[in-house]
């Protein structure tokens, strides 16, 4: 195909135009350094000097410049400038991020982006974690790994969230990518320790194996022992706290000894405190540590390992992140005091200890940016956080007692305190029994950087417990002040359609909206028509939607895939919509949906 001399290149033309063959430059490797460099096959610098046409110069320069763009949002913007930029950006994109695995097909993604080294794919929406979605809804990794096996032979990294992954997928991955370095699996299921064993033994360049909050079947396979037995490994990160299997400790200790680059280690609760001490001593270079079981039932004297643990921890000068603390024995708590001052991240959300004990730790943690904690921290504990952790970016407060008593340990008081003390907050998840509009408004006002706001008022339909008014006002303020808000979760809230309207009309950056059991109807749904193409997805379950209302969305927005999911195939009152899950997609309706899913067309 001949190049158009007006300067706009053909979309699919990747070979150099005929008149420039003497100075081939468009298929160069990424390390090209400027005009006139050529692909490896013709040798270093061409002796023929034909002045390249201006468009080619531009493309060369572009390629050199764009390869430094790492932010995908910047890249997306650059690709919209013109076709030339679109093409060059596609050639230089090395990190492919698929926020919704059904928004685009593997084939389409891979034909646009041909030089990808790292792929991130997200599948199910978050509410799937709470049994709100049929188990076999979808989000399979198989079609992706199959396509990548041929399209991306140099693939190095895979990040998966809320996908179904099988052992066969892992085997294909291990077999297809000789340069494979990083595997991060978050909130996934479908695979077992057999799959892990294959990855451990066959991915010889493996630096990162992170298994986070995923369901891994225990096949009784000693996968830790499957790592190559001799020589140093490349391992930098090994996270397996969610894998409930017994651990061959000798193999683990030997692995840690052979992994001089190991920085992140998060153990499961089958590693005792005594064993933890031994591991830490072998790896004082750790930056991220997840303790196994933080108690020692075999202690002759409770806490007898405490001083060993404390001195082992003190030797870890680079420790910035601590987690684990399951089955916590308070006697071992002071062991972490020496490292608190350097901590930027602390996950105490499995540590059932009293508020006073948490506070005594918090007071040491001036540099904390991320804190996950149980609501047993109480409002007083949150006040301590607000006064100590001025740099806090992310806070998650989980309920210890999911059923909830009448009076919750954390309330609007804690939320208000956090909003006043932690102005840099970007993300919050907050479980409580009761809330007030005022506190939510304070959060919206005081924390302008807020991007993720998840408030869970466990007592259903609980009104503002100070004014008695419904929590609708809060929506108005989220709409008014939530200009950067990207993610919002709403449940059992609101009195009318107004709440949802405020949000859809007021939050221009909103991408992910999940709503359950709230009285929002078709009118509220339609108020967002101007916005849905900008969103990754909208989830509404047990609201007041009708099939007719959803059908109108399909008519108005043809590029949206609108799934209506039944709670139960048998019970079908057809005038209500149990679950609406809709998302933009280039592919139209998917073909792997189970029976309870109807895709409206």
């Amino acid at each position: 195909m001949r190049k158009d001399r007006t300067g706009i290149s053909q979309d699919d033309d990747r070979s150099p135009p005929a008149d420039l063959r003497g100075a081939e430059s468009s298929n160069k490797t990424r390390n090209c350094c400027g005009v006139g460099s050529v692909s490896g096959s013709t040798g270093p610098i061409s002796m023929e000097f034909q002045a390249p046409c201006p468009d080619q110069v531009l493309e060369n320069v572009l390629e050199n410049v764009l390869q430094f763009l790492s932010s995908r949002r910047d890249r997306n913007a650059a690709s919209l400038v013109c076709k030339s930029w679109w093409r060059v950006e596609a050639l230089t994109r090395s990190d492919l991020y698929i926020g919704n695995c059904y928004s685009v097909s593997p084939r389409r993604a891979m034909s646009r982006f041909s030089r990808v080294q790292s792929v991130s794919i997200k599948g199910r929406p978050r509410f799937a974690d709470f049994n709100l979605m049929p188990i076999d809804w979808g989000a399979h990794f198989t079609p992706w790994v199959t396509a990548m096996a041929s399209a991306y032979p140099w693939l190095e990294k895979v990040y998966l969230k809320r996908m179904s992954v099988t052992d066969d997928d892992l085997a294909l991955l291990a077999e297809s990518f000789p340069s494979f370095k990083e595997l991060v699996i978050v909130c996934c299921d479908g695979f077992s320790t057999s799959g892990l064993a294959i990855v451990a033994s066959d991915c010889r360049q493996l630096k990162v194996l992170d298994l986070i909050e995923s369901e891994v079947t225990d096949d009784d396979v000693d996968w830790i022992a499957c790592f190559p037995e001799s020589g140093a490994t490349c391992l930098e990160s090994l996270i397996f706290d969610c894998v409930e299997c017994s651990i061959n400790f000798d193999a683990l200790e030997s692995l840690v000894v052979r992994s001089p680059s190991l920085k992140k280690l998060r153990l499961n609760c089958n590693v005792s405190i005594g064993q933890l001490c031994r591991l830490i001593v072998r790896a004082p270079q750790l930056t991220h540590l997840g303790t196994g079981s933080y108690s020692s039932p075999d202690d002759a004297v409770p806490g007898e390992h405490a001083s060993d643990l404390q001195s082992a921890l003190s030797a870890c000068k680079s420790l910035v992140c601590l987690s684990g603390f399951k089955e916590m024995l308070p006697d071992y708590l002071p062991a972490i005091y020496p490292v608190c001052a350097n901590l930027t991240s602390l996950n105490f959300s499995y540590a059932n200890i009293h508020s006073d004990q948490i506070i005594s730790v918090i007071f040491h943690c001036h540099n904390l940016q991320v804190l996950w904690v149980l609501d047993s921290i109480r409002d007083e504990g949150l006040q301590a956080v607000a006064s100590t952790c001025k740099d806090l970016r992310e806070l998650r407060v989980f309920p210890l007692d999911a059923r909830g008593d009448n009076e919750g340990p954390v309330s609007d008081v804690g939320l208000q305190a956090i909003s006043e003390g932690c102005r840099k907050l970007r993300s919050i998840l907050y479980f409580c029994q009761h809330m007030t509009n005022a506190a939510v408004i304070a959060m919206s006002r005081n924390c302008p950087d807020l991007e993720v706001f998840r408030l869970c008022i466990i007592a259903l339909h609980s009104p503002d417990h100070v004014t008695g008014k419904p929590m609708d006002e809060a929506f108005g303020y989220i709409g008014k002040y939530g200009k950067l808000l990207r993610t919002l979760s709403v449940a059992f809230a609101g009195d009318s359609d107004m709440g949802l309207k405020y949000v859809l009309e007021g939050c221009p950056r909103l991408q992910k909206l999940e709503i359950r059991d709230s009285p929002f109807g078709d009118a509220a749904l339609h108020s967002g028509l101007h916005h849905y193409y900008n969103m990754r997805f909208l989830w509404m379950s047990s609201c007041r939607l009708s099939p007719k209302g959803c059908q109108e969305i399909v008519r108005a927005l043809p590029r949206l895939v609108v799934e209506v999911i039944k709670h139960d195939v048998a019970v079908c009152p057809d005038d209500t919509v149990d679950i609406l899950y809709m998302y933009r997609s280039l592919e139209g309706p998917r073909d792997d949906a189970p029976k309870v899913v109807t895709i409206l067309q």
């Binding site: 709470f130 909050e213 047993s376 989980f398 479980f431 869970c456 339909h461």
Partner: protein, 196 residues
């Protein structure tokens, strides 16, 4: 309420328990199907019971206890991943065995305190701890006359919202019903006598 009668609450009761005990998170319930969630309003019930005589207190309490499992029948609520719930199940039971914190306030004192009632074996220990904490003397307790000869009187709010004298009911019953403690000025406590 009709809602209570329709449901066989025990069969659909959702509760946290050790593995092997009945637990059925995935079971959809009638509560889900209707758009109006017809869950009993617990606040109303506890207000209503104030009017009743003490004799029917026990019945009211039982009704509340039976009704409360209905709260937990909603699928996927609260939104806590099973992984996390399972990890914390055992913790919860340890917590119940380990502590029972209630707020303690004293008229005129600027700060609230919290104490763990389970730590004390009986009233004498509790009173001594309170006296030390707030630097007061409760005086002598007698069933007929309450606390004699003291400026401050320890009282507590029970589950029904009534204020009672500390010591009026048997210790175990006190542990079950005490929501919070308040050390009142003696003059204000005159209205409270032995209630049960």
């Amino acid at each position: 309420m009709a809602f209570d009668k329709e449901l066989n609450l025990e069969a659909t009761e959702l509760r946290l328990g050790l593995p092997g005990t009945k637990e059925s998170e995935k079971q959809p319930t009638i509560a889900i199907k209707s758009n109006k969630r017809a869950l009993p309003n617990f606040n109303e019930e506890s207000c209503g019971s104030k009017e009743n005589s003490n004799a029917s207190h026990l019945i009211q309490k039982r009704d509340q206890e039976i009704a409360s499992p209905a709260k937990a029948q909603v699928v996927g609520w609260p939104p806590v991943r099973s992984y996390r719930k399972n990890c914390l199940q055992l913790k919860k039971m340890e917590a119940e065995a380990a502590g029972m914190y209630v707020k303690v306030s004293m008229d005129g004192a600027p700060y609230l305190r919290k104490i763990d009632l389970k730590v004390y074996k009986g009233y004498p220990e509790l009173l001594k701890a309170l006296e030390e904490m707030f630097k007061f003397s409760a005086g002598e307790y007698s069933e007929r006359e309450g606390y004699n000869g003291s400026e401050f009187v320890p009282t507590y709010e029970d589950k029904d919202g009534d204020w009672m004298l500390v010591g009026d009911v048997p210790w175990d019953m006190f542990l079950c019903s005490c929501k919070r403690l308040r050390i009142m000025k003696g003059s204000e406590a005159k209205g409270l006598g032995c209630a049960v």
